[in-house]
């Protein structure tokens, strides 16, 4: 099956290891991810400033995907997925907005939004289109029962209506279900849906940092070995900002991408998935004492 593959800014240029893991999984299941040089920023940064600009910037990406003749545009960033889903739905349903944006698109790039496709996050896409049974069948490496704390990320879940309510925004489960297939143990922890604070990092860094700190403490208290995310923003917040001196904690929480865990179970090695060997070993090699926790921060290289 062919789908348009939308990277957005941060996966393309910051968290390539996430991109790599997603590409390997897609190959495994015969999903052809089609790149396009016309895919640029999703438009999210314009939302607080000018609604029309926001819609038009998002629409240029949707239009580029429509021209590829596919049924889906698949994204791996929570925020890009939410932006593209929201705009796609609005322009399909609201004729006035569609006419307005099509006028902007026509005058600027000579194109038109037609509303022929659906937007999906990669995780949702494999959950629904490949399905848990097929994924389970493809697993060749049973992983260690590593305790994994899933972080879903706000824009994977909400606003729920733009995602057709496929997930329960209060008690989400899709990432748990996928990870559980591999042998790892998804753990519940306090305030699991707490926001990473990434959106206001540039406005109020102290507040963002204290949101990150609290999350790491909750993950640690639940005795999780790693924190798994499926959004590049969340990854930067919990992985990179974990090193910030304002986060005065005496433990470390490795942060990895959910598809990297799936990738290991599907038989790919650490290098193919852009994982640090030390973190991959947690999942693959016999562990000595239960106390032997990784000292590594950020599972990406």
């Amino acid at each position: 099956m062919k789908v348009a593959y939308f990277l957005g800014c941060n996966v393309a240029l910051r968290t390539y290891e996430y991109d790599a893991a997603v590409r390997r999984i897609a190959e495994k299941f015969g999903i052809e991810l089609m790149d396009s040089k016309d895919f640029v920023c999703c438009g999210y940064p314009a939302a607080p400033q000018d609604h029309s600009t926001f819609l038009a910037l998002a629409a240029q990406n949707l239009v580029a995907a429509e021209e590829m003749g596919v049924d889906y545009i698949v994204s791996v960033c929570n925020s890009c997925t939410a932006t593209l889903s929201k705009v796609n739905k609005l322009l399909k349903e609201n004729e006035k907005e569609r006419e307005h944006i099509n006028k902007i698109l026509k005058n600027s790039i000579g194109k038109e939004f037609k509303g022929t496709l659906e937007v999906r996050h990669f995780l949702r896409f494999i959950y629904e289109e490949v399905g848990l049974d097929e994924i389970k069948k493809a697993i060749t490496n049973k992983l260690n029962p590593v305790r994994v704390a899933p972080h879903y990320g706000c824009h994977y879940l909400k606003p729920p209506e733009v995602f057709d309510f496929f997930e329960d925004p209060i008690v989400p489960h899709t990432a748990d279900d996928l990870m559980a297939l591999t042998g790892v143990v998804p753990v519940k922890y306090e305030n699991m849906k707490q926001c990473c604070g990434g959106a206001i990092l540039a406005v109020d860094e102290d507040t963002s940092i204290s949101m990150v700190r609290e999350k790491l403490i909750h993950v640690h208290e639940a005795q999780a070995d790693v924190l798994a995310v499926h959004c590049p923003f969340c990854n930067v917040m919990y992985g990179e900002y974990q090193k910030d001196p304002r986060i005065d904690i005496d433990f470390k929480v490795p942060v990895i991408f959910t598809p990297q865990i799936l990738g290991l179970a599907l038989g790919f090695d650490a290098k193919q998935l852009g994982m640090k060997k030390k973190v991959a070993k947690l999942f693959l090699e016999p562990q000595e004492a239960p106390e032997s926790k990784s000292e590594e921060v950020g599972a990406h290289g």
């Binding site: 038009a56 910037l57 925004p169 959106a199």
Partner: protein, 183 residues
């Protein structure tokens, strides 16, 4: 006891003339702001807000209240309206379906038009105009990508520039800046 009031206490009084009763309608006409008048001030939003939990300067219920009251200038020029992390926690919990996250975005749009946009967002659009993305591309990124067996990324800002020119967002900003400098 008027005379014993401190200056701060006096300032806390609101003169009726400073209120703009149309402000709430202005917001409700903006995309996303439609439901603002449904708010009955229950405070659920602030109770579930992760930003308010960390920064007492941020109180979404209070922003809505001030907007409903018509404190137009105070709301539009406040730093608080830029503190929403768009987490949608309030959005899914509000009993009145106010859709605060969208209302906040509508208020931000009005504030932006009047030259109050937070500088970090402005920088974001400037960057888009240069590269089409919010992150700059160099040789380094594509070398890293190649090692991970991922195809290279090309810079392609052309369509973005054309769209930004068509909506006039950057020009409007220039105008606002000039207005601000003059006045």
């Amino acid at each position: 006891m008027e005379s014993s009031q401190t200056t701060d206490e006096k300032k806390a009084h609101i003169e009726a003339v400073e209120l703009d009763p149309n402000f709430k309608f202005e917001i409700s006409k903006e995309s996303g702001g439609e439901n603002i008048t449904s708010c009955f001030q229950c405070g659920t939003c602030v109770a579930v807000c992760p930003v308010a939990a960390k920064n007492p300067e941020y109180d979404p219920r209070k922003i809505i209240w001030m907007a409903l009251l018509g404190l137009r200038d105070e709301v539009l020029s406040s730093k608080a309206i830029w503190l929403c992390s768009t987490c949608y926690s309030c959005y899914v919990r509000c009993p009145q379906n106010v859709k605060i996250t969208s209302v906040m975005s509508a208020i931000q749009n009005i504030a932006s038009r009047e030259g109050h946009v937070h500088p970090s967002y402005e920088a974001g659009l400037e960057m888009l105009k240069k590269t089409g993305r919010t992150v700059e591309l160099s040789e380094f990124e594509n070398q890293k990508r190649e090692k991970l067996n991922c195809p290279p990324i090309e810079e392609n800002a052309l369509a973005t520039i054309k769209i930004l020119d068509e909506t006039g967002i950057l020009k409007k900003k220039e105008k606002n800046k000039k207005k601000g400098e003059e006045g």
